[in-house]
Amino acid sequence: MSFSVTEPSKGTKWFAGILVVGYAIITIIPLLWIIATGFKSPTDSIAYPPVIVFEPTLEGYVNLFTDRTRATEQMLEDAGPPQTWYEEIARERGTVISGPSRYGERFLNSVIIGFGSTALCMILGTMAAYAFSRFRVPLKDDLLFFILSTRMMPPIAVAIPIFLMFRQLGLNDTHLGMILLYTAVNLSLSVWLLKGFIDEIPIEYEEAALIDGYTRFQAFYKVVLPQAATGIASTTIFCLIFAWNEYAFAVLLTSGEAQTAPPFIPNIIGVNGKDWPAVAAGATIFLVPVMVFTVLLRKHLLRGITFGAVRK
């Protein structure tokens, strides 16, 4: 028998592999379910036991993006034959399309608010983290703790004061208000994560840049930022995921103009009975941006998650 500290045995590797694959399957099932439901008919979507093989339809997506009215035989005749494939789908259910739904706008709101607040949060967070990492800030530890403490209570605990403040400031249901709010909530996360990453970058690089004729800010921009790219990428994803998925504040503080997709999707349920395929379609599309973004940055993300586990 030989034991190695660094190399696990073949059996261990197999066991670990099976465990990981099993876990991956368990976590991916709800995702697949949602994606599949988006392409099911309403009957299939609530069938029990669940149908695995079904005839796919785009009805859910059509319902998601359109407003429809129930039409009488007379109305259908007057309207003439359906002009487009989505009209055809609506006709089959005895409805006519009266116009586009608000999902597109809400989705756009989510993009503006999610990416906007993430960008702002990263800009402020990187600079704050750099300052905390490099400069002698008075009461540094207390400030850092204070920043972290903003994250300790659940959003709902501060929702009412924020609602009142926003009303006073005219920020209710505005893009700016939501961007500021999500930035404020995420800033503690980004400052703490990024400080850890920047701490790891030896200060000699900046000193070399200072000597080489650059200012402090240029050294930060040209030397620190590229080396913190990994940390910045993974922190960006964490911030984006929060801002993108946030529900509680969005329900309370937005209703129309600046409403994001998460509070809108449940509204779909009420429009024409329980339209689960439309809800699933809404959820599926909603997943795409974050998924694409994460896949694009996955190399950095992996390094970001394992970051700090081993000290070089």
Partner: protein, 331 residues
């Protein structure tokens, strides 16, 4: 190129006094080596000149103008760090170009290419220019880091043990290279090391630092042949100077408590008996470990000596150094 003048520089980090009222003038075009053990204040001195740290008291003048309040960039100094500090996200070429592209210099591309090519040639890294800085060996990294200083034409070069992490062969090559670059260009160079061979071979002046104080400043020969104290005498010389109680040999002047003997200050074959403990053949020379009146002495003898351990040898001092109880040289 310029003269660097330090006047009354003091610097403390908390309770640690790193520099204590240091006055030093680095003449224009000189190669000044700062010697001293870890913690003597060598690196701190460099950082004072570079502007990376500010002195608590005192002033640094470069080329006659005060550097107080000026940023490192404004001081126009080039520095080689002990830990290479190459920019890891850049290629070797980009590393070498970095100072030339700074807003302080804004060099034209043709000039950049010429200088980078020239320096790469000198440091034998031309074939590595397009490698990532992190894909180099330690020796190559340090050469790039020296190159990054050499591409510029600063008022003073500061080097913090630039050769300490290199292998012996490369160190010897670069020693000669650095010295010839310096004497050809007439650059002023302030160099930190604890390698006395570097000090002896390259320096025009040596500054000996002890716990933040500059205890002696002079040519390497002055420090070697006319040290002010036991401490200064111990900085140079291989093997190290032997320091014994003054009474073991007769003829000590009054007040002398210690006698310092370099190998060439020990005449062999005359005087009093001592015992040979160990004979080390180093090739070009042979070291003798001797016991004289219960004191250990290390000296050098002929490379082809027939002496063996256990033999007896007569020795006598020749123009030795005498030091008082505090280690201050009195004769």
């Amino acid at each position: 190129m310029a003269e660097v003048k330090l006047t009354g520089i003091s610097k403390s980090f908390g309770d640690d006094v790193a520099l204590d009222n240091v006055d030093m003038t680095v003449p224009d075009g000189s190669f000044v080596v700062l010697l001293g053990p870890t913690g003597a204040g060598k690196t701190t001195t460099l950082r004072m000149v570079s502007g990376l740290d500010q002195p608590d008291a005192g002033d640094v003048h470069i080329d006659g103008s005060s550097m107080a309040g000026l940023t490192p960039a404004q001081r126009d100094v080039a520095m080689v760090f002990q830990q290479y500090s190459l920019y890891p996200h850049l290629s070797v070429r980009q590393n070498l170009e970095f100072p030339l592209r700074s807003p302080m210099l804004k060099t034209a591309q043709s000039e950049i290419d010429r200088k980078v090519g020239e320096v790469a040639e000198i440091l034998q890294i031309s074939h590595k220019l397009d490698n990532k800085a992190t894909a180099l060996s330690g020796g190559e990294m340090q050469r790039v880091s020296i190159g990054r200083a050499l591409v510029r034409d600063p008022s003073v070069y500061l080097m913090d043990e630039p050769l300490s992490s290199l292998d012996a062969k490369l160190r010897a090559d670069l020693r000669i290279e650095l010295k010839s670059i310096q004497s050809d260009s007439g650059a002023t160079l302030l160099y930190v090391t604890h390698d006395q061979i570097e000090a002896m071979t390259m320096a025009t002046h040596v500054g000996v630092l002890d716990h933040g104080k500059l205890v002696q400043f002079g040519t390497p020969r002055q420090i070697y042949e006319d040290p002010v104290s036991v401490y200064a005498a111990s900085r140079l010389g291989q093997p190290r100077i032997n320091v014994l109680p003054a009474s073991v040999f007769g003829g000590a002047p009054s007040g002398a408590t210690q006698i310092g003997l370099r190998p060439e200050q020990i005449i062999q074959g005359e005087g009093e008996d001592c015992q040979v403990d160990r004979v080390e053949h180093l090739g070009d020379q042979t070291r003798l470990h001797l016991t004289f009146k219960a004191q250990n002495i290390i000296t050098v003898t002929d490379a082809h000596t027939e002496l063996r351990s256990g033999d007896n040898l007569k020795i006598r001092p020749h123009n030795p150094f005498y030091f008082d109880a505090d280690g201050v040289r009195i004769a």
